[in-house]
Amino acid sequence: MTTTAPDLDKTPAKPAKARRVGGVMGNAGLYLATGVAAVLFLIPFYLIVRNAFMTDPEITGEEWKWFPSTIQWGNITEPFDDVTVDFARSMWNSLVVAVLHTVGILLICSLAGYGLARIPYKHANKVFYAVLATLMVPTAVTFVPSFVLVSSLGWVDSYRGLIIPGLFSGFTCFLFRQYFLGFPKELEEAARVDGLSYWGAYWRVVVPNSLNFFAAIATITFIAGWNAFLWPLVIGQDPSAWTVQVALSSYATNQTVNYHLIFMATAISILPLVFVFLFLQRWLVQGIAQTGIKG
């Protein structure tokens, strides 16, 4: 599988002639256009960093300043020193939630996706349509009943309450099914001939050959888990169960606004994801290139 993945860093599949026609001018234009777009995309990141290292009077001052006159390194520790919000704890909670959310979804939804795609069963169709139907239902429909349900299980303020209800993602299951439909049958059949059961073939042949795809889904799922807001807001009633997004919103909606603190906290909350991206991006791209997402 990995060998068939397109290498996105290789030079584009364009005829040599076409490349020559544009020439130097075309190249300059190309890089100019890309550069302008990149600058626009980076502006919000720039603002986060700028504000994070400024003092409040500088941020709100009459004259716009592109850079802090002195970089306020002390701002870095401020979110962690704050007594009203346990920021470090909220980062930890987010990490635990996002990791377990990702592991759980990968396990549960990939199995289901495989079952729906590859194991013959006469009602598989009906089951699949039932899963598909859940994609259409907006979260608002189920939000309040879900909350009451979870709270009656006594899961408020717990990792269980934050994680488990989100594990049964029809969308992820659907993506896995699409992917497994395109998985080369020959590999599995060889395994079956060797006497492996479905279960054995799945773990020994299918999963090891699908790591790119798993990595792609893992990245997307991790981001979603880290960035989730509304559910953690209502489930995390005690500050000890807050995720970092909830903590962020608490800075923003506090009665007195503390700009540099908000932006420093935002910067810190984004940092782990940036790292995840830089490391996993390659797999993500390759994984997507072979998914059912593209068709």
Binding site: T34, L149, Q178, A252, L273
Partner: protein
């Protein structure tokens, strides 16, 4: 979802009945294995998705204010109320306008970025990362940056600073709905957050276009640029485009966070989810009407999805099998 492969969305698992030979009893039977694989997921789905949906359905037929265990059956009254509610109807219009704009715009922008990045020979990974990075930011955080630092209405907002250089007065981007600048704020936030992800999808698809097609076209005299794009690239991206548009449409329906955070107590520009949220969890705590509205919305999503499938060739792969 595909026109070029056999992995249609709605196509059921190919029934390989011949393989389903009853060897070694239960543990080898495919029925057992099917449930073994799908069981944990389906149980969770029933408990955490279908039970709440059923509960909502139940609530929608009751007078359920300040309670989710109501006793007063009111039949279709909640549906009548929600359908005659101008706020809810307006929110559907808002959504339609929003989707009609944001879906093609995001599509064009992510495709444009993909075409740009695809042609780069140096620093390609760098630029790809730059465009992809916003995907890492939450709607909540992005809305915060937009509201507090870019589009605030005072002198230290970036947008007002920039227009100030040209002698233009400060603009209340969100506060004043006339002219509706708030759309600029909301659309830019969404474009920034979403484009990178869909760019990756297009980038992957672009790489999968066989090089021979371009070579053949060059031999036939097609000029590189618009002609090859129009007659080779675009048709080859058809499957990806369909998928991207479907995903964008679902995302637009689920729009909530940035509207909720940016617009506050406005009466305009509210998508359906925000209206429903206000109705159920906000000041009214009317869970019956909220549920009814949500189910109406669900029905609409199903209709639109089916319609989109019809015109975009959704599930056509199935027919070609």
């Amino acid at each position: 979802m595909s026109t070029t492969t056999t992995r249609g969305v709605a196509s059921p698992a190919p029934a390989k009945v011949s393989k389903d030979r009853p060897r070694r009893g239960l543990r080898a039977s495919s029925t057992f294995n099917f449930w073994l694989f799908t069981g944990p997921f389906l149980i969770g789905l029933i408990v955490f998705v279908f039970v709440p949906i059923g509960w909502s359905l139940y609530l929608s037929f009751f007078e359920a204010r300040f309670t989710v265990t109501p006793s007063e059956f009111v039949g279709l009254e909640n549906y009548r109320m929600i359908l005659s509610d101008t706020d809810f109807r307006n929110s559907l219009v808002t959504f339609t306008v929003f989707a009609a704009f944001i879906v093609p715009t995001t599509w064009a922008m992510s495709l444009g970025l993909a075409l740009l990045v695809n042609r780069l020979r140096f620093m390609r990974a760098f630029f790809r990362s730059v465009f992809f990075l916003p995907t890492a930011v939450s709607y909540a955080a992005a809305a915060l940056i937009w509201k507090m630092s870019i589009f605030n209405g005072v002198r230290f907002g970036l947008a007002n600073t920039v227009i100030g250089w040209f002698g233009v007065e400060n603009i209340a981007w969100l506060g004043n709905p006339d002219p509706p600048w708030y759309w600029l704020v909301i659309v830019t936030v969404r474009l920034w957050l979403q484009s990178g992800f869909y760019m990756i999808l297009f980038l992957a698809a672009l790489q999968n276009i066989p090089r021979e097609l371009y070579e053949a076209a060059a031999i036939d005299g097609a000029k590189p640029g618009w002609q090859t794009f129009r007659y080779i690239t675009l048709p080859q991206l058809r499957a990806t485009s369909t998928a991207v548009i479907l995903l964008l449409l679902i995302a637009a329906y689920q729009a909530f966070d940035e509207f909720f955070i940016l617009l506050g107590k406005a009466t305009w520009g509210m998508p359906p989810l925000v209206e429903l949220y206000k109705m159920a969890l906000g000041e009214n705590q009317n869970y019956g009407a909220g549920s009814a509205g949500a189910l109406v919305l669900t029905a609409l999503i199903c209709l639109v999805t089916l319609f989109q499938g019809k015109i975009m060739g959704f599930g056509r792969g199935e027919e070609s099998q």
